[in-house]
Amino acid sequence: MIDLVDVHKAFGANRVLTGVNLTLRKGRSMVIIGGSGTGKSVLLKCVLGLVQPDKGAISVDGTDVTNLRQGTPERDAFLARFGMLFQGSALFDSLPVWQNVAFRLLRGSLKKPRAEAREIAAEKLRRVGLSPDVADLFPAELSGGMQKRVGLARAIATEPEIIFFDEPTTGLDPIMAGVINDLIRGITSEMGSTAMTITHDMSSVRAIADEVAMLHDGMIQWTGPAGEMDNSGDPCVAQFISGRAEGPIETVR
């Protein structure tokens, strides 16, 4: 279970998160929606400890994770449970695709024989709709959408308990987006993983969300089951779903 209580984060004068409260139960799939630049990516990074919140508490399964220091066994154990797809894919461009996907399997505590790691990488690439031919290419040789899917394969390679997806379908064609939506849905329903996904794509929200949370103005504006999203009664959510320019969400921000 992931629990955020009154999380604040500012970059200089730019106050991004101003009191986020959010709870995600084990095995559930939550989608975070919200305008561009409202701090969705920052929120995920706060949970992972990549960004240090200014104030507030974040706990995973009851243990406070905001003060885990880099390099301690506790932090290593914490990170070992996570997978993360970055918005910009963040592939290691010095390594070929398969070594990116199998990164964790090639070193450290989860180390496997090279051939086996490669085998697993190929299998994960297949799951995100990439042929084995790309395994030996370098990230710079792939299209943006292909890079995104390699990033996705890397995030799920060790079948982590908790997976964060930052805009998994942005830049993909509708068919491939459908494949990825099914994949994310499958990961939570079959593997029982907990997932937190950021997306702007409403069809994606409907396909993968158990719960939806809307981030607006540095706070969670609305949260509830995906089924109630259309009748939320919240003007921000309604405007976001319909994509209207008029409404409480300003278009210049």
Binding site: Q70, F86, Q87, A90, F92, G108
Partner: protein, 257 residues
């Protein structure tokens, strides 16, 4: 009053920077004793920093050795001391010019590429990705590069010293009319073990500083292409200045007595 405040602020900022670099260096070295290690990355860094720097080292030192021979011959002629060319070339190359010039070339070639690579990784969230994949950037990126540079620099400088002396020898024998055998004998008889030891010690220190600055500035890079550019520039300048300063301190330590 205002002037004092400005000076005070600059001094404080400098002290803070020195403190940060020192902590960074101490943290890097501390990982030597704490697994996991990444031998593959270390081997790659050895090849990148060592092997691929050989051409640049050779070119730099052969021309310098040659020019040094010409200068000493011309300068020595003013007080009839042309004969000291082999000795002065040897001592100048081995004690000073070899380590310093190779150090500066490494700052240009290696520090810049380390800083640009790590800064780009930082800007494109690859460092964040490393952390989420349970890999400590200090162990995976910094330590292999710093260790490789420290280990391989004495070899580079050793090669540079020899090629520099050879440059002096070629000029001495071909242009200045020295007897080949005498030139070599004078060089070898004159050099003392301390000269070579100081040369290689300097090399190791300069290699450490060059790679450390590349990593330090890369890891602290600001955002965007501009951040990468600033990090690279800062790293090369800092490495060059530190190498020259360390050279002075080490020369003082080795030869002032």
């Amino acid at each position: 009053m205002n002037v004092l405040a400005i000076i005070g602020r600059a001094v404080l900022a400098m002290l803070a920077a020195v403190g940060r670099v020192t902590l960074f260096a101490a943290d890097t070295v501390s990982h030597l004793g704490r697994p996991p290690y990444y031998p593959r990355e270390f081997a790659q860094a050895l090849v990148q920093i060592g092997y691929f720097s050989l051409p640049v080292v050779g070119l730099t030192t052969i021309f310098t050795g040659g020019a040094l021979a010409l200068q000493i011959y011309a300068g020595g002629a003013r007080f009839s001391a042309e004969a000291v060319v082999p000795q002065i070339v040897a001592i100048g190359m081995v004690r000073e010019l070899g380590p310093v010039l190779v150090g500066l070339m490494i700052a240009a070639r290696v520090t810049s590429s380390i800083a640009a690579e790590i800064a780009t990784m930082k800007v494109t969230e690859q460092i964040d990705a490393l952390i989420t994949l349970s890999t400590n950037p200090a162990k995976y990126l910094t330590l292999p590069r710093v260790l490789a540079a420290t280990v391989v620099m004495p070899f580079l400088v050793g090669v540079g010293d020899i090629i520099g002396i050879m440059g002096g020898y070629l000029v001495g024998v071909e242009r200045l009319g020295f007897n080949a055998g005498t030139y070599l004998r004078n060089t070898i008889d004159f050099l003392e073990p301390l000269d070579v030891v100081s040369s290689l010690t300097k090399a190791a220190v300069f290699g450490f500083l060059a790679a450390l600055m590349g990593c330090y500035f890369g890891m602290r890079s600001g955002r965007g292409a501009q951040g990468v550019g600033r990090a690279t520039k800062g790293a090369v300048v800092a490495a060059s200045v530190l190498i020259l300063a360390a050279n002075f301190v080490l020369t003082e330590l080795f030869f002032s007595a």
